[in-house]
């Protein structure tokens, strides 16, 4: 339909907005303008930077190759180990605190609330310094190093992760319909049994997405552990990359570390998404 025909047709039904173009024509115009803008930005990105220089500084093949295999066997491995340890610690702490928070005994609830508020409120870096430096100095004892891992740092990260997870787990437990607990109790299950076999399994299905989020955040927070001072074998990815930059006066190690972080997180989140899809069928 041309605009002339449309104008003729509108003798019957006058448009009240007084616009000359139809919605379809306006949409088309917006699309043309946005494509043009996008093309311009892309062209600028390609043409403006000094690509050879960027390649020298961030994608140096020799430096890149030099990072391997240690960036995997030491750095990435440590990042994963620190993450798994503090996630496990955080999960145990978080579940405990969530249950205390839901307790009928008031002091338990207060205790959990105070814990959550403190460790959720403090920056992770501060908590790591507090547990890793201040407490050993104050008490005159150091945390043992187990399997090349600074336990103080792991405890600190677990405390932080536990505070976040406690709230997530509590929300999950509260999202399970009350009737589930009642049905379990009516069959004679004691409270703890009903929690364990009926409520908590369903709560965890609900909170898989936020827990994955917490796992990824924790993976990145392991970078903070390097403030506790590290040995050659206890470096995780970020520390390893920063040291690599200093040694080579070149940014390539950062790119390598970045790729490795993504190589861990992307398959992980995909895997969890799959898991969730499978779970949904049994709900």
């Amino acid at each position: 339909m041309t605009s002339a025909e449309q104008a003729g047709g509108s003798a019957v039904l006058q448009p009240r907005t007084g616009r000359r173009r139809s919605p379809r024509q306006r949409a088309q115009r917006v699309r043309v303008v946005s494509y043009a803008l996008g093309a311009a930005v892309l062209a600028a990105l390609v043409l403006v930077p000094d690509w050879p220089r960027i390649q020298r500084n961030f994608l140096d093949g020799g430096v890149f190759a030099d990072q391997f295999p240690k960036i995997v066997t030491i750095a990435a491995r440590n990042t994963v180990v620190y993450t798994v340890l503090s996630f496990t610690g955080g999960l145990v702490l978080g579940l405990t605190m969530a249950l205390l928070r839901l307790s009928t005994i008031r002091p338990y609830r207060w205790f959990a609330a105070v814990y959550i508020e403190i460790f959720r409120g403090l920056p992770a870096l501060l908590t790591i310094s507090l547990i890793g430096f201040a407490i050993p100095i104050a008490l005159g004892v150091g945390f043992p190093v187990v399997l090349g891992v600074e336990t103080g740092g792991i405890i600190a990260l677990s405390l932080v992760a536990g505070a976040y997870m406690a709230e997530t787990i509590r929300a999950g437990i509260e999202a399970v319909p009350r009737g589930q607990m009642e049905a379990a109790r009516s069959l004679g299950m004691p409270y703890g049994q009903a929690m364990r076999s009926i409520v908590i399994p369903q709560a965890f299905r609900i909170i898989i997405p936020p827990l994955t989020n917490e796992l990824v955040l924790l993976l990145k927070d392991t970078a903070l552990l390097s403030i506790l001072g590290v040995t050659v074998t206890s470096k995780e990815l970020t520390k390893f990359a920063r040291d690599g930059v200093n040694q080579n006066f070149n940014g390539t190690p950062i790119v390598a570390a970045g790729l490795l972080y993504l190589a861990i997180t992307i398959p992980l989140t995909r895997l969890v998404a799959q898991l969730e899809k499978r779970n949904r069928r049994s709900r």
């Binding site: 319909p177 109790r185 009516s186 004679g188 299950m189 049994s282 709900r283």
Partner: protein, 247 residues
Amino acid sequence: MNVASAIDIIGLHKSFGPVQVLRGIDLSIAPAHVVCVIGASGSGKSTLLRCVNRLEEPTSGRILIDGLEITDPDCDVDGVRTRIGMVFQQFNLFGHLNVLRNVTIAQEKVLGRSRDEAVEAGMRVLERVGLAGRADEYPSRLSGGQQQRVAIARALAMDPDMMLFDEVTSALDPELVGEVLEVMRGLAEEGMTMMVVTHEMGFARRVADRVVFMDEGVVCEQGGPDQVLGDPAEERTRRFLQRVLEH
């Protein structure tokens, strides 16, 4: 104390904050009897039922199950609950477990039966509600009527002495009500002691040994179904039945 009763409710009061929901209930149910509790929403009938296995904590009064005082603070409530099956309006099947596991988990964890014993008993009760063929399905794949039948099977698997039914057909589509009531009628005929909170007047008339009409937290009238439903003595019962049967 009347040991001959399966359920004895004596002077039961229940308040939620300032709201008095039950205001002095006295009720006895003989073994193998079916008692239907009817009344308007808010009359306290569901609360009464939930007090019987102490899902609600009575404010005052006593409840005796086979002469055992369940309201006694020293009573092993979990133990008594294994003898009282309960079926809920919203089914409350365990969504993360398949049908068979729904009917076996409490047998194993509470009664201490072996997996084999539990599965055997579980299949038997599923058979009797006509759902043995769906044992491997998850509850969300079943219709409401089927879910409610599984819920009945789950309670029966514990070999209870008595059953409580809390408006078990109220959340069902009309065409699914019949299959659930059918299972309940079968249970009644076999001599199960049943306390049934319901809006199904036809079921009450046909199956109940006694009908209890509740209003504003008290038992207003009780008697045989023909008397209470057919020729009520109380004005309030008459008005309620008129409202229910008008439509």
